[in-house]
Symmetry: C3
Subunit: 138 residues, 3 copies
Amino acid sequence: MKSYRQELWFNTRRRREYLNLTPQVEECLQKSGIREGLCLVNAMHITASVFINDNESGLHQDFETWLEKLAPEQPHSQYHHNGAEDNADAHLKRQVMGREVVVAITDGKLDFGPWEQIFYGEFDGGRRKRVLVKIIGE
Amino acid sequence: MKSYRQELWFNTRRRREYLNLTPQVEECLQKSGIREGLCLVNAMHITASVFINDNESGLHQDFETWLEKLAPEQPHSQYHHNGAEDNADAHLKRQVMGREVVVAITDGKLDFGPWEQIFYGEFDGGRRKRVLVKIIGE
Amino acid sequence: MKSYRQELWFNTRRRREYLNLTPQVEECLQKSGIREGLCLVNAMHITASVFINDNESGLHQDFETWLEKLAPEQPHSQYHHNGAEDNADAHLKRQVMGREVVVAITDGKLDFGPWEQIFYGEFDGGRRKRVLVKIIGE
């Protein structure tokens, strides 16, 4: 069994933002030399998500509106967690969107359907954050 | 390390529907010959889910009502994504229900608690869709 | 490839409760002797979750309030599933919080960011429940 590990780092300008990680994960896979296996991609922070959905900017605007409806940022005082912080909403949004994805590796490629793309969802940005890519297989 | 890959195809009649995949995943596992490892089952489309919950039709009706409350289909015009499409709600519902499950394989079986069953959740049906089963282990 | 399996059992006093599993999962990893691989931790019951988030009691109170808003327990009669049971809300809450986490194992350790901790989220407690830890790698 082979394994490969790499961290991807980001610093978003806005509090909430979506970044397409697919090219960087494909690059990790190339470097790993693994042809058959599983690839885990997870946020290493608890106010961010890694998820698979459509690479369409209208949908990303819909995510913003929808997540603000399900777990509004304001008022900060509505959350117990916000005694010393102001990011309780980001911890909740991350639960809806998920921490991680596991992707099959087949014949040296991410084994994806036609529209699947991997995104980093930032919900408390403006500081450096990282994503872990771990691939096992052979 | 051994690996096994199979696609499962569906064509639902209704826009939203739940299908029990457990027997088909068990069949994949038998064919794989793998006794110890991990089994990934994921939707290959971004308006559908694979998840584990109860095989109980009343609960599936509750999912329908609940997901329509959290991410209503209508009016289509409420979503930016629906400029050219009408399935933004399906992309959101899929985030709540999840893209994939990872199941332990122990002694040649899906290592499940008493009520765990694997479901395909379709949120934009009426066309052919597929699920990927990838098993690694030995 | 090596594999390791262990069940962790709980009996919560309250209907809803959050337990930090990180020390027990670390103990499983030590016993496994696995240095590089993947660790799956999943609820074996369908009214409970395993998820990764902050070890902060204020946030756990926020989870309680938020999940009750998204999928209220009462009135029980609002759910079809509650003909013979009263835990439909627990099946829904578990979908928001997720069934499982997959954690990278690197150099014999859970490969975590600074604040990542593994929690068991109980949504229908007061009876014995279990979590599965399955580790594969070498």
